[in-house]
Homo-oligomer: 443 residues x 2
């Protein structure tokens, strides 16, 4: 038979080489570790849901991208985010859950976008949300940036900045100016401030038909500068009496004050009046996170506060606050930017090369190492070709290689090669085990 | 609006309560830990593949169960196992991979079976495979049971038995009897030996038209008893000259001998001549694993050696050996059998209840605990209702609850309640931190 099928992977689907997978997993595990250190439950919902449930809210662009199909009589869809499944989950189990309900979920979601560089049709989202029953303390709005902070400190991708705003400030301000009908367009323009500068923002606002006086006020508002506290004082000095505006300022103040209690370094967060996020969803605090050295990557972690998680499924009022990290895209971008370090990334910490038939001896060593929580790979080649074995070990990238020949067996020793320095040492087995158990080995 | 959509989850899809998810994750993490301790790479392939690629081999029952659909012009399918994606991956990256290539993958697969108790349409498989280039040492056939052994020792679901056989012994034996055309039916009958007894096996064999003399030989063969070594000697004593049979016996002997080197407890594995697994796929060693106290659950971990992983994609000869654990089903069955222990399973090790407005003090404690790798949940309730807070803590199931009221703040102390004993202790903060950093805390 020679009719082979080409073993291809679909475009828009990330499938990594083993070495890259190690790096990807490291990032994923770091995120998961921090999420769980803040006491969030792990959830794992199905990837397939009934279309009726999944598309209760969706529409427009999202609905077009959805993988939707029939199986038998069932109309099914693949989840396109982790928020809708959460809403379903909480509505369904409202009576069994404890509130505030804190959950994290890290999983693949599906969007059939036109594939292009850096865009994926299957991608990981890493979400946390805190859901309240009727009410939810604003303290959770402060805890969220603390979680983002811990993650990006640990990931060590260089300096980062968490930008924080409150949607109530924006809508209060624009309502006060009588511009609530133009708010979507205005925010879209303001969002470009950093890229196009204030003069271009002004002319684009004029193009919307906004009068000069109001444009001046908007310009003054979005260019309010200083550190977070200075910005908050200046907002109060604007002397705007709109109750929504005032509430937003107070909430933002509360969050910023509590970030101090949470001991975040002030250089890593800032009040930023220009960020808004999805207008129809978020209702209070909003977050974006930028890697300072790579502003082009855009926000790597975003989210905010919403009034009601699950209106499509229940009458219960379920306010929440959460964030999401688009891990697949982030990983792709970090790799492109050469921001991911390849140092010491190996699957096994030790590779053992048996050059003897005395497997008892070899397996003893492997067992002892594994009992000490060391990842051990044994390379079995039937021909015991030393050159091939070393080539294997070399490509496995293990920091240490243990070579066991008949000589080692008869002398009761092991030979360890440090692959970084190329130096080789011999130990008596007993001595080696002692070192291991005393954890004085650097392995 | 009152047209709510019912927030239902599809039948055949497992979606756990948070407490159950913790248990599920524990099992999953244990499996992953052992896999990686043996130096296997982690792979993560797409859930969606092109139907052409995924169904290159499939047919019959499997093909009917597949979730297959169109998106635009693309004919797509959801993966129904992790072996086909592995075959694709290895064939595609043949020139880049190091052989033997050892990979583990833990992921969801999809089969649209008729839903019934304990059957799932979306379920986790946990697979490891070692793939050789042209050849693959038989040592890997011995390493596999060692991995199974470590996993089920760690999982601690009671006593277990790994049954090992070699397909070559079976086909050599039946070829020698001139019964190679009936082999599928014979093996299906033999497989029922434990359930129906040898007399019923004999009459079913007679029903196939097999003559008395041959039935006697088959009966002698399948009822060979003793420990693994005794069975192997008795096989040799049968004095069958078929070369395939002899090769199978030698391979099985080699595996069993090496399990001794690997220090497996002999009570946990046995040569079992009645197991065969998928006939058209496995070609050498085959494995099944049984929980001794729960034989009805069937094999919880199965697999074997195959000659050629990826014939549908490549001419390269890629022999392999591997196993799979059907985690979702296993979890379901273990829960049904009450084999999963609920002791001490909480998401947070400490729940902090702030009964003060001094959040500086509260956050300091949380930070110090988290820095010591302790999972900490802070329950923020705006009304600081003590009863509600304690109820939350109680349901969170954290072993320790820390209560911080204004009294604690002014005295510089913390109050810790041990939720198991109900006892409450107060510590000075400085003293508490010292204990933490000296890791003398039992938390």
């Amino acid at each position: 038979m020679n009719n082979k099928v080409e073993p291809k992977t679909l475009s828009g689907f990330m499938e990594l080489m083993p070495q890259d997978q190690i790096l990807f997993d490291k990032i994923k595990n770091t995120i998961e570790e921090v999420y769980s250190k803040y006491g969030f439950y792990h959830l794992d919902t199905p990837i397939i849901e009934s279309s009726e449930v999944l598309l209760a809210k969706a529409g427009g662009e999202t609905e077009k991208q959805i993988y939707r199909f029939k199986k038998g009589d069932s109309d099914l869809s693949l989840r396109f985010d982790l928020t809708v499944p959460l809403a379903k989950y909480v509505a369904k189990r409202y009576n069994e859950l404890i509130f505030p309900f804190k959950r994290y979920q890290i999983g693949k979601v599906y969007r059939g976008e036109r594939p292009q560089k850096g865009r994926f049709r299957e991608f990981y989202q890493c979400d946390i949300d805190v859901i309240g029953n009727e009410t939810l303390s604003m303290f959770y709005d402060a805890e969220i940036p603390s979680i983002i902070y811990d993650i990006f400190k640990k990931l060590d991708f260089g300096d980062f900045l968490i930008r924080i705003n409150n949607r109530k400030i924006l809508s209060g301000f624009f309502n006060e100016l009588g511009l609530s009908d133009k708010i979507t367009d205005i925010l879209r323009i303001i969002d470009k401030l950093e890229k196009i500068g204030i003069d271009n923002v002004k002319s684009e606002l004029a193009f919307l038909g906004i009068d000069e006086e109001k444009i001046r006020k908007i310009s003054d508002f979005v260019t309010i500068n200083g550190n977070s506290e200075e910005k908050l004082s200046k907002l109060e000095e604007l002397n705007i009496k709109n109750p929504e505006f005032t509430e937003g300022v107070n909430e933002l103040k509360f969050v910023i004050n509590n970030l101090k209690s949470l001991k975040l370094d002030e250089s890593n967060y800032i009040v930023d009046l220009t960020i808004a996020r999805g207008l129809d969803y978020y209702t209070g605090t909003v977050y974006e996170t930028q890697l300072k050295d790579y502003p082009n990557i855009g926000s790597v972690c975003s989210g905010g506060r919403y009034d009601n998680l699950a209106t499509y499924y229940t009458d219960k009022k379920l306010p929440g606050v959460g964030i999401s990290i688009g891990l697949t895209r982030l990983f792709y971008q970090l790799k492109e930017a050469n921001l991911i370090k390849y140092v010491d990334d190996s699957v096994a910490q030790v590779t053992i090369l048996p050059m003897t038939n005395n497997y008892d001896y070899v397996c003893d060593i492997a067992k002892e190492l594994r009992n000490n929580n060391i990842k051990v790979d044994i390379c079995y080649l039937d021909n015991k070709n030393f050159k091939k074995s070393m080539r294997y070990a070399d490509r496995q990238n293990s920091p240490y290689v243990i070579i066991i020949g008949d000589d080692e067996v008869s002398k009761g020793i092991i030979t360890i090669k440090d692959m970084k320095t190329g130096t080789q040492h011999q130990f008596e087995l007993v001595e080696f085990y002692k070192k291991l158990n005393g954890q004085s080995m650097k392995i």
